[in-house]
């Protein structure tokens, strides 16, 4: 039967094919998620959807259109900027300034030693103190952090997963000592350890005891801290590590299911804790996909929680914080990042987020300056006050494209969730390393698309700025921060009641052995002025420290370059090198210090191996001394240091020293990649670094540079 619709469609198809000279069946674009985006969507695309209900309204199940009926028309999303600067004093100043200029909630970034449960005076962390956030060693630091900020009125979000116990305890005690009872504290602690095992690597203990700690915190807060979100189930870091949107969505929800099970195993009623579960997603540059992702997330979570037997409506509603994508920021032509961030922010808003962090444009290079942070915040203020996006709830509902995309994303994510469930849930999947490997595979594919030019990044692989602008960045004197922190620790250790500290730590250890709730004991220890490091080490006695084993993908990168001229050129150089030198060029890729972001290192390793290099992978968290021993024993030609947490100024010179110490004649070429401000380039070159590759460097070109540097060095020696 010929309807008017199908007649119109046939007519349209004809015009389309005439205009484009492309057969319609060939005209779809493929996304990273493996979804085919068609040139046009029609009513037919939203009939028979599997997950989306076309008739539902905002605040109604399955909550696709938003958790609340009124959404931004009643109250706009919360502008919540994540920040932390080296010391509690500095961060406190910064927070107070921001609160004055219209920010509503606080979000604390901690430095890596704090994340990993080390005090600032620990030798293992010398390059990391105060680098990527604020250093917290004792409750005194926490008190300074919130000086003059009334904790009964301010919602505080803390990005903390590894050392959750001492850090949350410090927050509770800081509140108490401000005369705020813990039942009045509001905010969120990230407390999402599963994704740490997949991507970010700031865990301390093995997966099983780590899950117990998560459950302890959910249990304690559900009873004692009713206004506090016990967990922020985060996909953000997965996308940052290279996961596509389906993987991010599926793994985040699968993590959520695992946390629900952990809490249920404590004997809690699902409706007692589920309303306090919150989520955190990344918003990248794929505009419509990101909108669909947030809508799909709510839709699926409703289904999941209903299946768990939740009765309270609030248990079934997914509330989320979002942050614009850090990995989409480029070092090249950095003002473009303001524009990228604006579009990403708009995606998050159209997707219906509850709060939002917009990145500063200089974050591909360093921690933001006051000026860049202001621009980032204004991005949201302009959206709220000038564009009219708050006037209508879920304005894209009913769009054939958006509704169909939401449903398709839901379907794809559901398949992956079922796969994880069939492995026995996320803890088991994480132990087997499955999600980590999938994310790395996806990351490598994305990188290959950029390097081969099949994906355009403005200012990086196309439309390059002939005159790169100079940007002022924030500089941190790491040694000074560390010295100050050490002095504070020593003062506290000298003045505290040591017997009380020892006793409370001993109690904590026995609580861990007896499997009782750890948060209460940890609060006591912190109150007695035990340090973050001491609390973490006490539990380490029982649980041990976790060391990740790493699996690697291979062949994924190379596949995108079959027949590519530059790629073949490098592969040829590698073969010539082998003929001349009796072995392939051998490169050790390392991470040093407490910086666990290993996406870049992994991509470089697998793509170099695909080009024919022999690539040694170092373990995470190595000291410069360990790296030197490893490099020399394996007689590598070059070491590539991946650094994303600003530790390079301390750790790289230390590495050069260690190399010379073992082998005074060492001819090893050292190159550095990652987030390095241009101001530091000269410093690194003075320390005999041969090459520096910033974010957005083309890997094939980098590989060619490296093999040329190695060959040069060999020829010079002969």
């Amino acid at each position: 039967m010929k309807t008017k619709n199908s007649e119109n469609y046939t007519k349209w198809q004809k015009s389309f094919e005439q205009e484009t000279k492309i057969d319609l069946s060939e005209a779809s674009s493929d996304t990273d998620e493996g979804i085919k985006i068609k040139p046009v969507y029609t009513k037919a695309d939203i009939e028979n959807l599997s997950f989306v209900d076309n008739d539902s309204l905002p605040g109604q199940l399955p909550y696709t259109r938003g958790p609340k009926a009124s959404m931004y028309t009643n109250r706009p999303w919360t502008i919540r900027q994540y920040a932390g600067f080296s010391t509690a004093e500095e961060s406190n100043e910064f927070y107070k300034k921001n609160l004055k200029s219209g920010q509503k909630g606080l979000s604390v970034a901690f430095d890596l030693p704090t994340h990993r449960g080390y005090d600032s005076d620990d030798d293992l962390v010398m390059g990391d103190v105060g680098k990527a956030g604020v250093a917290i060693d004792t409750v005194e630091d926490m008190k300074i952090l919130f000086n003059d900020i009334p904790l009964d009125q301010m919602s505080v979000s803390m990005t903390m997963n590894g050392a959750v116990l001492p850090v949350l305890s410090s927050f509770v005690v800081a509140g108490e000592e401000q005369n705020v009872n813990k039942n009045l504290l509001s905010g969120t602690i990230q407390n999402d350890i599963l994704k740490e095992f997949m991507v970010r690597n700031t865990y301390i203990y093995p997966p099983d005891p780590s899950m117990k700690i998560v459950a302890d915190i959910i249990e304690f807060t559900s009873k004692e801290m009713p206004k506090f979100n016990s967990i922020s189930i985060s996909g953000y870091h997965m996308q940052e590590a290279g996961a596509d949107n389906v993987l991010e969505l599926a793994y985040t929800l699968a993590d959520g299911m695992e946390y629900v099970r952990a809490a249920l195993s404590k004997g809690l009623d699902i409706d007692d804790f589920a309303p306090r579960l919150s989520f955190f997603f990344a918003i990248g540059t794929d505009f419509f996909m990101e909108i669909a992702k947030l809508r799909a997330a709510r839709t699926l979570w409703y289904k999941i929680m209903k299946d768990f037997g939740a009765k309270n409506e609030k248990s079934m509603i997914l509330r989320t914080h979002c942050q614009t994508s850090g990995v989409s920021l480029t070092e090249k032509d950095p003002y473009n990042n303001i524009i990228r961030t604006s579009y990403e922010a708009l995606s998050a808003i159209l997707g219906g987020t509850q709060s939002l962090h917009t990145n500063s444009f200089d974050e591909a290079i360093a921690l933001p300056t006051d000026e860049s942070a202001r621009i980032a915040r204004n991005t949201q203020l302009i959206l709220q006050n000038e564009t009219g996006v708050t006037n209508t709830v879920d304005p894209l509902a009913g769009s054939y494209f958006i509704e169909s995309l939401t449903d398709e994303l839901s379907k794809k994510a559901w398949e992956i969730i079922e796969e994880i469930e069939s492995l026995g849930g996320m803890t088991k999947a994480v132990k087997a390393g499955v999600p980590k490997l999938k994310i790395e595979e996806s990351a490598t594919k994305k990188q290959a698309k950029v390097d081969s030019g099949s994906r355009v990044v403005v200012g990086v692989n196309k439309f390059k700025n002939p005159k790169e602008p100079q940007v002022d960045v924030r500089v941190i004197d790491n040694n000074k921060v560390r010295d100050d922190q050490i002095k504070k620790i020593n003062d506290i250790k000298a003045s505290r009641d040591q017997k009380a500290v020892d006793e409370s730590l001993a109690k904590l250890v026995s609580a861990a052995k007896e499997d009782s709730n750890l948060l209460a004991c940890s609060i006591d220890a912190i109150k007695n002025r035990a340090t973050v490091g001491e609390v973490s080490k006490a539990l380490e006695q029982v649980y041990g420290r976790h060391f990740a084993t790493s699996l690697s993908v291979s062949g994924v990168y190379g596949k995108h370059f079959e027949g590519d001229k530059n790629y073949m050129n490098v592969a040829k150089k590698v073969n010539t090198f082998e003929e001349e030198n009796g072995r392939r060029p051998r490169v050790l890729i390392v991470k040093m210090g407490q910086d666990g972001h290993d996406r870049g290192a992994k991509i470089v390793a697998t793509s170099f191996a695909d080009m024919g290099f022999d690539v040694d992978m170092g373990p995470l968290f190595q000291s410069p001394k360990d790296v030197a021993k490893d490099a020399i024993e394996n007689d590598v030609h070059a070491i590539g240091v991946s650094t994303l947490a600003a530790g390079h100024k301390t750790l790289v010179p230390e590495l050069m020293k260690s190399l010379k110490k073992i082998d005074p004649n060492s001819k090893i070429v050292v190159f550095v990649g990652g987030v390095i401000p241009e101001q530091d380039y000269d410093f690194l070159y003075e320390n005999n670094i041969s090459a520096i590759f910033g974010p957005g460097s083309n890997i094939i070109e980098s590989a060619e540079t490296v093999i040329d540097l190695i060959s040069d060095k060999i020829h010079k020696n002969n």
């Binding site: 062949g555 191996a609 290099f613 022999d614 992978m617 373990p619 360990d626 007689d635």
Partner: protein, 321 residues
């Protein structure tokens, strides 16, 4: 030779460079390598060489980390030669073994070298034997040789090591039927890993499967008995038993001369291998120059001559050259 002195002194960089030399595929390096090895053979150390093999996923590297930690705590010097598979497509490889040997790789009493397998025969890479001679001269007490898969048990046991151990996981007893002969013949020690947590009962069941399997093997009275051991690499349990077993086997085999005989046999193998390689090399060159293979193949295709007559003619031809 300066390099020899440095190796004997135990200088890390010198040992590393020497291993690079013996692994090199360059003709010049090979000559130099032979000279180096002959000198080092005059300065033998006291190392015991132990081979570790086992299917992927049983925790070989984790076991080595755990056992190695136990040994270095007792002040032994430990050299590890780990062989990683190379990619078949590109020839490159990712050498990730050290990500599972975190603690021991930091220890000053260890030397850990990963080597890409280069798709060489049996997974044992070229130069492994020479590398173990270098580490021996450098004063390492134990030399571990780790390979992937069980396929190279024979090569390893007969060519390279004093003791060959197979690491297996719980539940692997069922696979025993298929590979029984090879392993019972070549392995001196069977290490059943993952004797921890939920897997404990499965692990001890597997251990008894192995025990009964080796009991069928006719044991000659003068060779040390094969042992099956239960360990947990992650909990670091059972390690005393492993070292005790190794030491017992060594003592017993030394007493009854088995130890030296095995090493003597390995030398014979080595010489045979070198001779074969040299002949093969020269034959290959002859074949390349001669061109009679393609000439005769054409004739066989055309039906002018029978295949086996052609082969004989070609061989005759080459031998006369």
């Amino acid at each position: 030779m300066q390099l020899v002195e440095k190796i004997v002194k135990g200088e890390r960089a010198a040992i590393a460079k020497a291993i690079t030399l013996v692994e090199s595929s360059k003709e010049n390096d090979k000559k130099e390598s032979r000279r180096l090895i002959s000198e080092l053979l005059n300065k033998p150390g006291k190392s015991i060489r132990i081979g570790f093999s086992g299917p992927p996923g049983v925790g070989k590297s984790t076991f080595i980390e755990s056992f190695g930690r136990y040994l270095v705590e007792k002040n032994y010097k430990l050299g590890i030669l780990a062989i990683d598979p190379s990619s078949q497509i590109t020839g490159g490889s990712i050498l990730g073994d050290k990500t599972r040997m975190i603690e021991i790789s930091k220890n000053p009493n260890t030397f850990i070298r990963s080597t890409p397998s280069r798709g060489s025969l049996g997974g044992i890479s070229l130069g492994t034997r020479e590398a173990s001679i270098i580490l021996d001269a450098a004063g390492y007490d134990f030399i571990f040789i780790e390979t992937v898969g069980v396929g190279q048990s024979e090569t390893m046991a007969t060519n390279l090591v004093d003791i060959f151990s197979l690491i297996v996981g719980p539940g692997s007893g069922d696979e025993l039927q298929g590979i029984k002969k090879g392993i019972t013949e070549y392995a001196d020690i069977f290490i059943v890993n993952k004797n921890d947590g939920d897997l404990k009962s499965e692990a001890s069941k597997t251990a008894s499967d192995y025990k009964s399997a080796i009991s069928y093997y006719k044991k000659s009275s003068d060779v040390a008995e094969k042992e099956v051991l239960l360990v947990s690499a992650i909990e670091q349990t059972g390690m005393e038993k492993v070292i005790e077993t190794i030491q017992n086997i060594v003592t017993q085999n030394k007493k009854n001369k088995n130890f030296d005989e095995r090493r003597a046999k390995q030398f014979t193998y080595w010489i045979e291998e070198e001779v074969r390689e040299i002949i093969q090399f020269s034959i290959q060159n002859k074949i390349k120059e001669d061109g009679s293979i393609s000439k005769f193949s054409q004739k066989v295709m055309n039906g002018e001559i029978q295949m086996f007559d052609a082969i004989e003619a070609i061989t005759q031809n080459l031998q006369n050259k």
